[in-house]
């Protein structure tokens, strides 16, 4: 910051993950590659810097080769582009020149590459032929790839910072978040996103405060700005005054104390006032997060998202690699259950994305079980890994994005085949496992009775179910406030699913974000959920909420809620009934209380009578 007359700037956004932190800003630019800084390389280190650059080039080349090899012939156009890039990569004006710059100017490889690329860009810029000018993008794309590998290989930029920082970005895709060394991150601020966006989920899982949907954070905040991030209120204060700093430091400490108090009780079972005990499980994405689930007193894993091993890499993981990860989780959690969701590849969480596999509408595209049934060899690899891991504990297999009964039948057939192949090869695998369906598409709700015939359990994925039912993209700031778990349409769907599960005598769980808010607990208990699963950090709060209420009160409450005509009215009913209990949580976890109010905040709350 150059000016000395600093003025506090306050940005409002959505409080995606609670907590308060104070620190220096670190900006991630649009491409997801860190802002490149220049630094001198001592003479003795030049050779090493060259090696680093060459390694990044080689890695980029290998990646391109692998992508080309995995690409079906129909993508001829794509293959052409990639093959051109493959040749381009060693072009002397790119490769040779970067090496010259490193050698002669003794600067870091990132800077040298950036310099060379911006020179090339300006050459292309001056060209008159629009088509040829456009081709400059091939060079830029390629340079981006090398840069990613350069930065990723050594993680020089994030690694350079010895203090922990607050990350500021436009939006973070799962692939980008996987590049970040999270232990260096104090908090997240993004321009876009919503409460249930990927950044929000990751932040809550790792207990890092986050404010998303600020709209203009990257435009307003500069690198190294001192900022206060209040993930409870959803505000960001840039260049705070001394007084504000003191105020927030106190607030931060109070927050930490209250959180610690709740967490101390988290290991105790969750039993309602009238003696009904309820299982509370954790959702995880990385095997390492099992520890968080155990620490927070989780009764198992209700959702293990398995996409992570498929991201940011040129090839699909092999069976042994997957088996290692799964068996880790199962072993650590045993004898408590681990619910493994089979690959839910979609637009932004996939190798497919890196393959240039673009769909206009990925949420409605080839993903989840649809994808797995089309790619039996990939599905088989994962299923075999899961079955082998099942030796070590209680495993449940869960299929995502199921729209029809037929898909369940086919997926089960694939499980049977995978088991058969293991048996034939004499490879040990667990024979005791349950198979369930993630209920997240409206058609699956409507056909729940048919699907129940093929399943041992249902688990309700409310994030997608709400998205598909209300036609709301929860990462779209313009409509994110309409993403309401308490919408009567959603309540009726939940009612239908739980009723059918009970009738058909199968278990019913919930693993969507909805379960992580205390205000929803009475509804979920009243509907008769057998288990609730959520981000590990929410477990203590939810357990405490369960301990504060009577299950016998919740059934009539659900009946009453089902008669209401708007999310606002359902919310008001819950607030009026449980306001006293909920107010205890509000202080520590703003996400707890008023889901609707927060969402409407800053969007000009519209309340219907």
């Amino acid at each position: 910051m150059s000016d000395k007359t600093t003025q506090e700037i306050v940005l409002n956004g959505i409080n995606a993950s609670p907590g308060i932190c104070i620190g220096k800003a670190y900006l991630v630019d649009k491409e997801g590659v860190d802002v490149i800084s220049r630094y001198a390389i001592p003479k003795a280190q030049v050779a090493n810097e060259l090696k680093r650059f060459k390694a990044a080039v080689k890695k980029s080349r290998d990646e391109l080769r692998a992508i080309i090899e995995n690409m079906p012939e129909d993508f001829r156009q794509q293959i052409n582009i990639l093959e051109t890039q493959e040749v381009l990569i060693k072009d002397k004006l790119l490769y040779g020149k970067t090496i010259t710059v490193i050698e002669q100017e003794r600067v870091n490889a990132e800077w040298a590459l950036k310099k060379v690329v911006s020179q090339l860009k300006s050459i292309f810029q001056e060209m008159a032929d629009p088509y040829l000018k456009e081709r400059a993008s091939d060079v830029v794309n390629l340079a981006d790839r090398i840069m990613r590998n350069l930065v990723g290989a050594k993680q020089i930029n994030i690694g350079q910072i010895d203090k922990r920082v607050i990350l500021v970005a436009g939006d973070l895709s799962p692939a980008e978040t996987s590049q970040i060394r999270l232990e260096k991150i104090k908090g997240f601020i993004t321009d876009k996103g919503g409460k249930a966006s990927h950044t929000g989920i990751i932040a809550r899982t790792l207990e890092i405060p986050a404010v998303v949907a600020t709209g203009e954070a990257t435009a307003t905040i500069k690198n190294d700005d001192l900022i206060i991030l209040d993930g409870v209120a959803g505000t960001v204060i840039i260049q705070p005054s001394e007084r504000t700093l003191v105020k927030y430091e106190k607030r931060r400490m109070r927050y930490e104390r209250q959180k610690a108090a709740i967490n101390r009780r988290s290991r105790l079972p969750a039993e309602t006032l009238d003696g009904q005990s309820v299982k509370v499980l954790g959702n995880i994405e990385l095997p390492e997060e099992v520890v968080a689930v155990i620490n927070y007193g989780g009764d198992g894993i209700g959702l293990y998202r398995t996409e992570f091993q498929y991201m940011r890499r040129p090839r699909f993981p092999d069976e042994d690699e997957l088996y290692d990860k799964y068996s880790d989780v199962v072993q650590v959690m045993a004898p408590k259950p681990v619910t493994i969701r089979t690959l839910d590849i979609n637009g932004d969480k996939a190798i497919a994305a890196e393959n240039g596999f673009n769909e206009a509408n990925p949420a409605l595209g080839l993903r989840g079980i649809r994808y797995c049934l089309q790619r039996p060899e990939i599905f088989r690899t994962q299923l075999r890994a899961i079955l082998r891991a099942a030796v070590f504990g209680q495993v449940r297999i869960m299929f995502p994005m199921v729209a029809t009964q037929r898909e369940v039948v086919q997926a089960k057939e694939a499980v049977k085949k995978a088991a058969g192949s293991l048996a034939q090869e004499g490879v040990p695998f667990g024979e005791e496992f349950e198979i369930g369906v993630l209920i997240e598409i409206p058609s699956a709700v409507i056909m729940a009775d048919a699907i129940a015939e093929e399943a041992d359990f249902f688990s309700i994925g409310t994030n997608d179910l709400i998205q598909y039912t209300l036609a709301i993209d929860r990462t779209n700031k313009n409509v994110a406030h309409l993403f309401r778990p308490l919408d009567p349409a959603i309540l009726r769907m939940l009612k239908r699913i739980t009723d059918i599960a009970h009738q058909k005598n199968i278990k019913v769980f919930i693993c969507g974000e909805m379960a992580s808010y205390p205000i929803h607990v009475p509804i979920l208990l009243g509907l008769g959920m057998d288990e609730m699963s959520m981000n590990p950090q929410a477990i203590p709060t939810i357990k405490q909420m369960i301990r504060s209420i009577k299950i016998s009160d919740t059934k009539p409450l659900v009946e009453e809620a089902l008669k209401l005509r708007s999310a606002e009215k359902v919310f008001a009913l819950l607030r009026d009934t449980y306001g006293d209990i909920l107010s205890e949580f509000n202080r520590t976890d703003n996400g707890a209380g008023n889901v609707i109010e927060e969402k409407a905040k800053g969007k000009g709350a519209r309340r219907k009578a």
Binding site: N80, I81, E83, T84, V87, L88, D91, K92, L93, L94, L120, I123, F124, M127, A128, D129, Y131, L132, R135, A136, D138, V139
Partner: protein, 88 residues
């Protein structure tokens, strides 16, 4: 002694990345320098980027030049490629 051969870019899209890549591939076989010349400017045939930057849309007259006659085969192959419109 250098040898020069004239050619006209005939493919619709001109000398773009993909066509330049084909030239660069051939040029890589040469032992000595291979160049594309347009008016006063010249570009190394082995560099796609240099070739693109030469800016040759359809109809551009160029000359392919080799620094040494031993690369005659490369010269002929490149000229033929250009004359055939890069097989597009």
């Amino acid at each position: 002694m250098m040898i020069s051969k004239e050619a006209v870019i005939t493919n619709e899209l001109g000398l773009h990345a993909r066509s330049a890549a084909q030239i660069a591939k051939l040029a890589a076989r040469a032992r000595h320098g291979v160049w594309l010349v347009k008016g006063e400017e010249r570009a190394a045939a082995s560099s796609i980027i240099d070739l693109i930057a030469l800016e040759c849309p359809r109809g551009t007259k160029i000359a392919v030049i080799i620094d040494n006659p031993s690369d005659r085969e490369v010269l002929d192959a490149i000229s033929e490629l250009i004359e055939n419109g890069f097989g597009e």
